[in-house]
């Protein structure tokens, strides 16, 4: 143990040295301005601004961060770069969106920059994020600043008080939520909520539904996918698997806040930090977020599960649900099929190919600076940044998070949950094909919201999604989409 601590001490010292080492040649980018576009608020954007100030002091390059509503990030970047407006030099967005921009020839190839960069250590980036997030068609087109998985969190104290075990399946989730719903979880004398999920339209709800659907629909490994038949690009959505996911997802609302349909991620974060949620679906952020000063009600109490599974899985040839057994779900454990969903894939930065060379050099240097372990390993321990661990060095031991203030048991649980998701051979990958944003954040999101609001039935919602996805596939070209899907899933 002492030897391990010594090693950690050496590693931390080395990290600190690297952190204080010059970034580039001082004044190398004097007079250069790098315009970055990303989401609004402190999450993601805030740390870019703060690191930008450091970067400017070291290199002279001015980092200007422009924030736009989440739903407008992709179309703004796409139209700005495509029409030659070029007011944006760097976009920081979902790693999966890069493929559509790259197909239009809008992304700068970063491999030549990486070859000359002796500070970036891409071998330390977890293979999934390095290969799936950063690369398009085998070339590095983006640099990660964040790694994303959607996980389930539970209040350990609340479940213990109620005599409940952490859920293993979505049915368990609903059962546990029903048992703890209405109990006072923060000592204010008021009943709180069994489950909190962001279900507002045009927000993050479409990720959560995929987290529900993945273990029911995907059984044979990441390369199988759970949105399309990879050979034909016919949607695998209008079936009993997705139907069950939709129904389970809606049922969680019985044990959620009454205005859950109008809550986005900011609202649910305020609720769980106030100690009002017994269970929740979230990315990696709640781990370090519970260390915040305004989260005293949950500090050290919010534990993570890498992903919930399903005892029933989809038989793709019959379209029916069947029990998960080794023959149809080889990765299942004790009759439960797990498929942790890499929702969003993580925030990553890409450079506009048409920016002038000096700006591109400065932009790359900044993205590299953000990506380097010295900065990244600090940023991922601060919940408010929105950055979650994505480097092997951040995931190999809980010490980074223990140093940040997490109790040891919790830190081990947190890192264990992320590692469990990353190492799962049946991990479900987010869409990474042209039109990914349209397939999910427009068609899937809209029809899901209409189903949750009671406007349409689950069958109508699934039929509409199938029709909408087919229209998008036809629009982009079926053969092109088949090729892109094969590339994305490595199938």
């Amino acid at each position: 143990m002492q030897f391990r601590r010594s090693l950690l001490g050496l590693a931390a010292g080395a990290m600190a040295l690297v952190g204080t080492a010059p970034l580039s040649v001082a004044g190398e980018f004097d007079g250069v301005t790098v315009n970055i576009l990303t989401r609004p608020g402190y999450v993601i954007a805030g740390r870019l601004v703060e690191r930008g100030v450091e970067f400017q002091k070291a290199t002279g390059a001015k980092i200007v961060v422009t924030e736009v509503p989440y739903a407008e990030i992709f179309p703004k970047i796409q139209s700005d770069w495509s029409t030659g407006t070029n007011s944006i030099d760097v976009g920081v967005f979902a790693a999966g969106w890069g493929v559509e921009l790259d197909a239009a020839g809008l992304l700068e190839d970063l491999d030549p920059y990486i070859a000359k960069d002796d500070k970036i250590d891409l071998d330390d980036v977890a293979p999934y994020f390095r290969e799936f997030g950063q690369k398009v068609g085998g070339k590095t087109k983006l640099l990660m600043v964040d790694g994303d998985f959607q996980m389930v969190y539970y209040r350990k104290d609340v479940l213990e008080a109620a005599g409940q075990q952490p859920p293993k399946t979505w049915e368990d989730y609903i059962d546990v939520a029903s048992k703890i719903h209405g109990t006072d979880m923060n000592g204010d004398g008021e009943g709180d909520f069994g489950s909190c999920i962001f279900k507002k339209r045009n927000a993050q709800s479409y990720f959560a539904i995929q987290t529900f659907a993945a273990p029911i629909v995907q059984t044979k490994g990441t390369a199988q996918g759970f949105h399309f038949n990879s050979a034909t690009m016919k949607p695998i959505i209008n079936n009993a698997g997705w139907k069950k996911a939709f129904e389970l997802y809606k049922e969680t609302g019985k044990y959620g806040p009454p205005d859950e349909l109008n809550l986005d991620i900011g609202d649910t974060r305020a609720l769980f930090k106030a100690g009002r949620c017994g269970l929740l679906v979230e990315w990696g952020d709640p781990g370090p977020l519970q260390l915040d000063d305004d989260a005293t009600a949950i500090k050290g109490k919010l534990y993570a599960i890498s992903g919930l599974g399903s005892r029933m899985v989809l038989n793709r040839s019959t379209g029916k649900l069947v029990p998960a057994i080794k023959s149809n779900a080889p990765h299942s454990i004790d009759g439960i099929n797990y498929a942790p969903f890499a929702a969003f894939g993580g925030w990553a930065g890409a450079i506009n190919k048409k920016a002038d060379q000096k700006t591109k050099d400065a932009a790359y240097a900044f993205l590299s600076y953000m990506n380097q372990s010295a900065q990244s390993s600090v940023d991922v321990t601060i919940g408010a940044t929105g950055y979650n661990p994505y480097r092997l060095s951040q995931l190999s031991s809980p010490d980074l998070f223990i140093e940040a203030g997490m109790p040891k048991e919790l830190a081990e649980n947190y890192i264990g949950a992320i590692n469990g998701a990353l190492s799962n051979l049946n991990m479900a990958s987010d869409m990474k094909i042209p039109g990914a944003q349209k397939y999910t954040s427009v068609v899937l999101d809209t029809e899901l919201a209409r189903y949750l609001a009671g406007e349409i039935t689950v069958d109508e919602a699934l039929e509409n999604i199938e029709e909408g996805w087919e229209e998008i596939t036809e629009d982009f070209g079926r053969d092109e989409q088949i090729a892109a899907q094969a590339l994305a899933l490595g199938s």
Partner: protein
């Protein structure tokens, strides 16, 4: 000898120049005759460039699939497929609502409306010119289409789409705003104490930006932390959430929209009411007419041209509602508070510019036909009635 045909400008006929007139005079005369066109030309040119041209050019988008590439926008002609999608494709339920199954009540009401519209058209056939007949046929077709959607969706117990959500904002919202705005204007036109204070107070919401109204209303309407939370608690409605139910969410949108737009009706109607000649009112009072009769027989006929015009302007504006539902609910729950404008914006935001343009054109057609029908059959009718 005196010239038998003395030069006199009064003798110049339009389009002709008297013999012997110099070319400079001809030029000046031509300029004089076309001065009106010259003065209006810059305005017409600007309108053509900034309004008409984009409107026509957007039809190119509406008939195309637009892709963003490294070389700019690439258009692929797809005919009316973007429009077709709204009526028969994946967006049908979103736009029209659910139109199946149709109830017996819905069918009966639809049949009654169709008979009434066709009867009205038949009667017009005898008197109207062919131009008017064309206009009335378009109005009738729109009325039958809207009646069918209404009967097949709302009156059959099905959910409505963005089409009727928009019409709900326009018809119900404008009616509420007109009734309250006119009522307040009437009160403030009376000799009451502090009426100048009330005039300013009622006018303030109109000066707030719609985004500001949206955020303010979102905070006010928050049932867990907003100012109405204690009242709802007292009424035992602490678990009631307006944003979870489609119709309560739509009504909240109308309430918030009304808060901003009642002042517009108020200020216009106040000006109209204050322009009613006092001697007419006083003469009616001397004759012993009651206040209600004075309003109905003297005041209202004189303000009705302004009233219907204000209502028309407000309706045109209401068709474009977007900010409030976008900020307060994001169009939800589901798509229940999503207007056609917001629908178009959301589709455009996904860079589906062709579909967005198609929805915008559908909204344009709806707005033009509804508002032109209202103008022809209500506004002009009321103005003629008032004049007579």
């Amino acid at each position: 000898m005196q010239n038998p045909m003395p030069y006199n400008t009064k003798n110049i006929q339009p389009g002709n120049s008297p013999a012997g007139i110099s070319s400079g005079d001809k030029w000046r005369e031509w300029c004089d005759r076309h001065a009106g066109s010259f003065f209006i030309a810059p305005a017409v040119t600007l309108i053509l460039i900034f309004a008409i041209f984009p409107t026509i050019y957007s039809m190119v988008f509406a008939l195309s699939r637009v892709r963003f590439t490294g070389d700019g926008l690439k258009f692929r002609y797809v005919g009316f497929r973007n429009f077709e999608k709204q009526f028969f494709g994946s967006s049908e339920m979103h736009f029209l609502g659910r139109t199946e199954p149709v109830s017996i009540l819905g069918m009966i009401i639809f049949a009654v409306i169709v008979v009434a519209v066709l009867w009205w058209l038949y009667r017009s056939w005898k008197t109207a010119t062919w131009v008017r007949m064309l206009g009335r046929s378009i109005s009738a077709a729109m009325a039958i289409f809207l009646a069918w959607i209404l009967c097949a969706s709302l009156l059959s117990g099905n959910s409505i789409g963005t089409l009727y959500t928009t019409l709900f904002y326009v018809l119900f919202g404008c009616a509420v705003q007109f009734a309250i705005g006119t009522g307040l204007a009437f009160l403030c036109s009376q000799p009451i104490r502090g009426r100048n204070f009330f005039r300013v107070l009622f006018f303030i919401p109109l000066m707030v930006t719609p985004l500001g109204v949206g955020f303010a209303m979102r905070m006010i309407a928050d049932v867990t932390k907003g100012p109405f939370e204690p009242i709802l608690g007292l009424l035992g409605l602490q678990d009631w959430v307006w944003s979870a139910s489609p119709w309560s969410a739509r009504f909240v949108m109308v309430i918030c929209d009304s808060w901003q737009w009642i002042p517009f009706i108020f200020i216009c109607m106040l000006a109209a009411l204050e322009n009613v000649p006092r001697d007419h009112v006083e003469a009616a009072q001397v004759d012993g007419a009651s206040s209600f009769h004075i309003f109905r027989e003297v005041t209202w006929p004189q303000v009705v041209p302004v009233a219907v015009t204000v209502l028309l302007i407000r309706a045109i504006e209401a068709f474009k509602i977007m900010d409030l539902p976008n900020i307060m609910t994001g169009g939800g729950p589901g798509s229940s508070t999503e207007s056609m404008t917001l629908h178009s914006v959301y589709v455009w935001r996904a860079n589906d510019i062709g579909s967005s343009a198609a929805i915008a054109y559908l909204l344009l057609i709806l707005t033009v036909v509804v508002c032109a029908s209202f103008f022809n059959y209500v506004v002009l009718g009321q103005i003629r009635k008032a004049r007579s």
